[in-house]
Structures are given as C-alpha cells and as structure tokens.
Amino acid sequence: MSLLALRDLGKRFGGVNALTDVSFAVDQGDVLGIIGPNGAGKTTLLNCISGLYTPDTGDIRWEAASIRGLAPYRIARLGIGRTFQIVRPFPSMTVRENTAMGALFGRPGARLQPGAALKEADTVLDVVGLGEKRNYPVLRLTVPDRKRLEVARGLAMRPRLLLLDEVMAGLNQVEVELALEMVRRVRDSGVTIVLIEHVMKVIVGVCSRALVLNFGRTLVEGPPADVLKDPRVIEAYLGQRYARDQEPPPYPPPQAGEGNEK
C-alpha cells in the first residue's frame, strides 16, 4: 500500500484549471521529484496535499485514508511536513526556537513541552548543518541557511513524508552540492520525500522517480534519466524545435555513470 496516493486531483481558481486529473503514488522510502515549467501547478499540488487548498475534484489518500479537506494542522500531525518556496520563518524567534516549533506542534501523537522540543531541535539542527548557528536570530541567516532552517523545522516534526518546495532555488553550485548532501541525509534517515525542483542535478542526484507536470496535468512519470530524455518533456520546457528537430537541448542529459551515487 502506498504511503501517499493522489487520484484524479483537480483544482480551479476562477477560470483557470491549475490542476487536472493528477494521479500518482508515493511509496515509503521514495524520493519523488516533481518538475515542470513555471506555472505548471507544482506548488498548487503541494498546497493541496498539505491542506492549504482544498481540491475541487479527486482524492488524496494517506495510507488508504482520505485526507482531502482536512485542516492543515491535522495533516501536519499525521506526519506530513512541508517547506515553502519563499521561506516563512518566525522572525522573532531564534534558529533553535524556530526548529523547536516543528517538534512542539507537529509530532503525531506526542505532545511535547517547550523544554523537550528545544532539545529535539538541537539534534535536528545538526542534521541540516545549522548546529553552530542555533542561537542566531533568523534575520541574521543567509538565504541558503534560511532554507536549511525551513527543512529543519519540518524535520523536527519527525514527519514520515516531507514536501520540499524548490529548496535549491537561488543557491549557487557549491550551495546546491551541500543542500543535496542534506537531502540525502534526510532520505537516509527514513523520511519519504517529494520535492519540487528546477535544478536537474538534484533530480538525477537523489530522486528515485520523477514526475513532470505541464499546464496542470501529468505529462510523464518514471526514472529521472528516462524522463529527462523524453521528447515530450523537452518540448514542454524548451519548445518544439528541440524536440522535433532533434537539436541537442542546452542542458546535457545525464551520462551513463551519473545517478543515485553519493
């Protein structure tokens, strides 16, 4: 039985169909990468799963039970955590306190007290690499660190599924490598991950499967290497010229030998 299953999910805003007939499943231990051009509906998808939006059609199931229409806090407590594309920290709290908030409110079953939550935060901060900055006020953090904090707060919830929304956006090459390491550590600790990304290196670097969204519909699904070579995907991103005329796309497809290695 899948951990998370979406079936024929649809969401409209006024006259715009943000999502149409989206279906896929995520199994325990998967790392699913969701890619697609801007406006494809990727963040809308995450918002539906985490409860900020209610889908108009279709269903979302968490271990066979429907979570469609549940309030966000309930979904969080079931073990689903998420980060935001534009980070949303709590500005008046320190890094440690921000992280502890996840432990304080997001644990399925357990009702932690502030003291215990802060201790939990310390452990998590080491995983994401913010251990030394634990007492910094949030406003002192750089952008990459704020993204780590966002992930830390999610991890502190001890989620079974973590939804990452463009964690790599705005990072340079070196920072992407470090962040990729962090995502691998999260994966190895047993957390199932669904991540939205534009940085293809991440998709081939850590994902077990990839899903392409275009205009709110699923286009292709499969192993990352295959998906990225699929002409339909190339057409969606780059236009017909590259797909049809077989001109080599600007982005080099993954060579043999690259893949899910450390």
Partner: protein, 330 residues
C-alpha cells in the same frame, strides 16, 4: 538603566500595595500618615483597570497579532452583567462578578469564530463594528435601562475596589506571563509571525485564536464588572466607548506589544498623562486633543514601545528616532 528601572518598579509596586492601608481607621489611630485620598484612589483604580484592559488586548493584539478594535464590548458586557444582576436582580456582587467574565467569554466565542477568519484591516474594522454595534444594541434595550443607564446600590469603599482591580491587574499580567511560557503561547506567536507556516507545522490556528480571544474577553469582563459596582452607574457612553478601546491599544503599543510588562508600563504612563491633561475631568476637549497628538507622535516615533528602552536594547536618541522614521516613511 535596567537595574534602576527594576528598583524603581519594585518600590513603586510596594507603594501601590501598601499605601492604601494607611487609610484604614486602625492605621490612622496608630498615627500613620495618610498617604492616599479620594483622588489617589480614583486614579490608581483607573490605572489598574487599564492595566487589565491593555494586558487583555495584548493577548489578542500583541501576542497573536490580531489587532481588535472591539475589546471594549467585553468590558461593557461584563459591566452590564454585573449591572443587571446586582442592580436589577439584587444578586450578591461577588457572584455577579464571577458570571461577568463567563458572559464576556461566551460572547467572544460567538463573534470570534466568524470574525477571526478575517485578517488585517478587515478584522480591525469588523471588531470595531462589534464594539460599536454592541453598545448600540444595549443602548436600545429597555430592560437594560436603555439610554438612561443602570444604577447599582452604592458601595462606598475606595479601598475595596482598588484592591479588587489590583488583583484583576495581577491576574491579567500573570496570565500573560504563563501563556508566554507554554506551548499555547508559542502557538500564538507563530500565528502572529506567519499564520500559514504555523498551520502546516501543526498549530490548530482557529482554536488558538478563538481561545486567546476568549481569555482576553474574560479578563476585560472582570474589569467591567468591577467598574460597574465601583461607579454605581453604567450606560453606553461609559462602558462601550471606542476611545477607551483605542486607549488600551495605545497603552499596549507604547508600552510594548507582545511583552508581559509592556501593557503595564503603557497603562501607567499613559493614564497618568491623560489624568494630568484632563486636570480633573476626563472628558475635556483639551485632553482629547492631547491624546490624539500623543497617539500620533507615539505610533510614528516609538512603534515598538517604551519597553524597548527598558530592556536595554535601544536608547531613546535622535538616531533611534531617525532610524524608526526611515523604516516606515514614504
């Protein structure tokens, strides 16, 4: 600066608690100097009352970030609960005072659930509407005395009401302090800082907001109930005054919204200024002008409140003012 402030505050507090005792007959007979008089009691009780109101507002506006302009409705309902129970139905005051916060909290529950779904401007004016409309409805209800108001049997004891209000103030401050130490408090802060993020990490935002609203209402209701018996007379103008609502907000803000002692500092400082400006009558036109100008100056120049200075974080200087202005000006 900090140690001096703590020292002054402790002395001040001791004075507030002990000085009234000199007015008891026994103390007078023992030859103690009389440290208080009618005016002292009136001002001190009013200050204590605003400490309750400002602290209560702070829970919803300062901690949770939902600036309510209608909290005065809870004060008024508390006052009218006591007014009706004691003035019309002859219940004992003590019992009525226990019911007052319950009535206020229940009302907060009723209006809070729909209203707390609104944000920013909409929430502020919707609550303003609650405050105004509740007063208006009460003013039109015959059984509640309508526009003539309600009279209560007179109880002459400055001492009693001062201490009652002081206990209410202590309760309000203590409540805030406790909240900020618990999970509930962190949840409120999270809602203030980023409500969507709070929701996805597991904070039941609707429940928390309504709970904060009800707590604030209960505290305000107690203050209203005490006021009703203290003043022996209530009507719409006295207990549903929107300017009082603004006053409590101003006190919390210039004292330091979101802190435990900010509202206390703000209430003390502002009420003393108002009393000085009024020169005896709190409704005088000059005091209103003074209040308006003070309001403008405070929100423009010290938006984070004076508690910023006492915490040692900033110093009141030209540079501070200039930086504050730069942050918020066009």
């Amino acid at each position: 600066m900090r140690r001096a402030t703590v020292a002054i505050a402790t002395v001040g507090l001791a004075y507030m608690i002990l000085a009234p005792l000199t007015s008891i007959d026994a103390a007078q007979q023992a030859g103690l100097p009389l440290l208080t008089d009618k005016v002292w009691f009136r001002i001190a009780t009013t200050v204590a009352m605003f400490v309750v109101l400002a602290s209560a507002w702070n829970i919803v506006g300062g901690l949770t970030g939902y600036a309510s302009f209608g909290n005065i409705a809870f004060f008024g309902l508390g006052a009218y609960t006591v007014g009706v129970l004691v003035g019309i139905r002859n219940w004992p005051f003590g019992l009525a005072l226990l019911i007052a916060p319950l009535v206020a909290a229940l009302f907060a529950l009723m209006v809070g659930v729909p209203l707390l779904r609104l944000r920013g401007h909409y929430f502020a004016v919707a609550t303003l509407g609650v405050g105004v409309a509740t007063g208006e409805v009460v003013n039109n209800l015959g059984p509640l005395g309508a526009s003539t108001g309600l009279y209560l049997p007179i109880v002459r004891s400055d001492l009693l009401f001062f201490y009652l209000m002081l206990v209410a103030a202590a309760l309000a401050v203590l409540t805030t302090w406790v909240i900020l130490r618990t999970r509930f408090g962190y949840g409120l802060l999270a809602i203030r800082e980023n409500e969507e993020a709070a929701a996805v990490i597991g904070v039941n935002t609707n429940f928390y907001k309504v709970a904060a609203f009800c707590i604030a209402a209960a505290l305000s209701g107690i203050a209203g109930g005490i006021f009703a018996q203290w003043n022996s007379f209530i009507n719409q103008e006295l207990v549903f005054a929107v300017s009082d609502n603004v006053q409590m907000i101003l006190m919390a803000v210039i004292g330091g919204a979101g802190t435990v002692l900010g509202p206390v500092a703000g209430a003390v400082v502002l009420e003393l200024i108002i009393q000085t400006l009024a020169g005896g009558g709190s409704g005088s036109v000059y005091s209103q002008i003074g209040l308006g100008v003070l309001l403008a100056v405070c929100v423009i120049f010290i938006p984070r409140g004076v508690i910023d200075f006492f915490g040692g974080r900033s110093r009141l200087s030209l540079r501070y003012l200039r930086e504050t202005l730069r942050e918020t000006s066009a």
